[in-house]
């Protein structure tokens, strides 16, 4: 009896683990999508309205998806908190705090941090160019992430349970 209960615990435990991993794969495309939308909004703010960065960030923090909202809130807080700090520094520090809360990969982080290097530091055309590049890059990452997610979600959902079964069989 104890053996059966133990086996069930192992199977469900492994199954849950598998689902957790699967979930992390499906979160990334979602994060990337909200990020892309937010960057597009930023582009509009900068390109059409030439809104000062602080103002643009606070409107982004209010309007964007709650998964990416912290990024803009952090940048804004950094900008206003430390006198004499540049947009790049604020952006980098905010990214460091923001990254662990997301399902983003290092490669996504690189896109964001490349954008931060030029943020607010050049004319409208150049800002637009860089923002469009970042939007396109997140778009490409998103397509890849979606593909991968489709495969991995299935894989890990099965793998968890089956892995649990294998362990149970080996132990029996």
């Amino acid at each position: 009896m104890l053996k059966v209960i133990g086996s069930l615990v192992i199977i469900f435990g492994c199954g849950l683990l598998g689902m957790l991993v699967a979930r992390s794969y499906s979160l990334r495309p979602a994060d990337l999508r909200s990020l892309q939308t937010a960057l597009q909004m930023l582009e509009t703010e900068i390109n059409y309205a030439a809104t000062p960065l602080a103002e643009a960030l606070s409107s982004l923090a209010a309007r964007s998806d709650k998964r990416v909202r912290p990024l803009f809130e952090y940048v804004l807080a950094e900008l206003q908190g430390a006198p004499g700090c540049t947009a790049h520094e604020a952006w980098e520090r905010a990214l460091k705090r923001f990254y662990p809360q997301t399902a983003l990969l290092k490669s996504d982080l690189v896109i964001l941090s490349n954008l931060g290097k030029v943020l607010g530091a050049s004319d409208r055309q150049d800002q637009t160019r860089h923002l469009r590049l970042a939007v396109a890059q997140t778009g490409a990452e998103m397509a890849r992430a979606q593909n991968e997610a489709a495969r991995q979600v299935k894989l890990w959902n099965y793998l968890g349970f089956l892995g649990g079964l294998v362990i149970v069989l080996l132990l029996y």
Binding site: I46, A50, T51, P52, L53, A54, A56, L79, P83, G84, T86, A87, A90, L119, G120, A121, S122, D123, R124, D126, Q127
Partner: protein, 362 residues
């Protein structure tokens, strides 16, 4: 009043001496003789990156109080402009002679400063970059130099900004008090057509700003009510507008057209704002003179400034020569720095061409 005193930056001492001379000048000003708070340099601290801020704060206090500009050039020593001279600054804040001991401005310093000046939103300052300067709250200005990007032969923007000149603006209230009575046409309750001229950096703009303020506010001590003044501030130097709002006190009856080309602006004001006096800084082109003629014809008084060290020199410039030939200017005010910036060297009557007062005599 035996002579016209140098218009020192320290208006409070000026106030005192004019009282002693027992003239009626002390009643000119109802407002206290306050200059701008001496700490107007503090207003530019937020735009300095931490490294430079440290250095500037460690400047000897005498230098700090009188600082006029801070110049940043990539790879070159940090310079501060003091009245009449510029000095190199060492990393510790000391003023030094030897360029080898001075702090060398890095590319990073410049970039940071530009970012801070623009609030990390350089893209929002396209018009300003085209003009080559950004006006800060408080009326201070940051001049920019770098590589110009052209579009259809006109400057579109600047990139690779490698030189900055942070000019600290000090409105010296009361500086116009000694000259004001000579420029007022009291029977007509108006002012004379006035042309202020001097070599660069002698306080033309400062004098113009205070004249505008006093004419606009009126001078009860002289029995002079305020007049409506239209100020065309093409380079945002006189009123130092930030988002259209004058950062310097230019009086209660003053309308400012900020960043507007002078010739166009004078006509616009003439049509739109019904001014009694039109003031503008640094005229010189033919278009300016043509616009001035319109202003004369409309019966509006003018107060303008021009670069130049003598009337003869001014007259050698064709556009100004034409202006002189109209014989409308009633007062020529020559400024110098023989006794400090803003010394009124001579005021000439435009009709008789005789000096009304000459510095040190009369």
């Amino acid at each position: 009043m035996s002579k016209i005193r140098p218009l020192t930056k320290n208006a409070s001492s000026g106030e005192g001496s004019s009282r002693r001379e027992g003239s009626d000048f002390h009643t000119v000003r109802q407002t206290p003789p306050a200059t701008r708070p001496a700490a107007s340099w503090r207003e530019i601290l937020p735009i300095l990156p931490p490294v430079l801020k440290e250095i500037i704060l460690r400047l000897p206090s005498g230098a700090l109080e009188n600082i006029e500009e801070i110049r940043l050039r990539q790879g070159k020593p940090l310079l501060v402009g003091l009245p009449g001279e510029d000095r190199l600054v060492a990393p510790g804040g000391a003023l030094v002679e030897n360029p080898d001991r001075a702090y060398l401005v890095t590319a990073d310093d410049l970039q940071r400063t530009v970012q801070l000046v623009s609030g990390c939103s350089l893209y929002a300052f396209e018009e300003e970059l085209k003009n080559g300067y950004i006006t800060l709250p408080g009326g201070h200005r940051v001049g920019l130099a770098g590589k110009a990007v052209l579009e259809k032969g006109r400057v579109k923007t600047l990139k690779y900004i490698a030189g900055l000149n942070i000019r600290i603006s000090r409105a010296v209230q009361g500086i116009a008090a000694p000259v004001l009575p000579l420029l007022l046409d009291r029977p007509a309750q108006s002012v004379y057509h006035t042309l202020i001229f001097s070599p660069p950096r002698c306080g033309k703009t400062t004098l113009l700003r205070d004249l505008v303020r006093q004419i606009s506010n009126g001078a009860p001590g002289l029995g002079f009510p305020g007049l409506t003044v239209g100020l065309v501030d093409e380079r945002s130097e006189v009123a130092g507008c930030y988002r259209g709002v004058p950062q310097h006190d230019v009086g209660i009856r003053t309308d400012v057209l900020d960043g507007c080309p002078k010739a166009e602006g004078m006509i616009m004001l003439l049509r739109a704002m019904a001014p009694q006096v039109i003031a503008t800084d640094e005229i010189g082109s033919r278009a300016d003179v043509a616009a001035l003629e319109e202003v004369f014809n409309a019966g509006v008084k003018i107060i303008v400034t021009v670069h130049g060290s003598s009337l003869a020199e001014l007259a050698s410039r064709p556009s100004l020569n034409y202006l002189f030939s109209l014989k409308v200017i009633e007062r020529y005010v020559l400024l110098g720095r023989s006794r400090g910036i803003g010394t009124v060297e001579e005021i000439t009557d435009g009709k008789t061409m005789k000096p009304l007062r000459k510095d040190g005599r009369d």
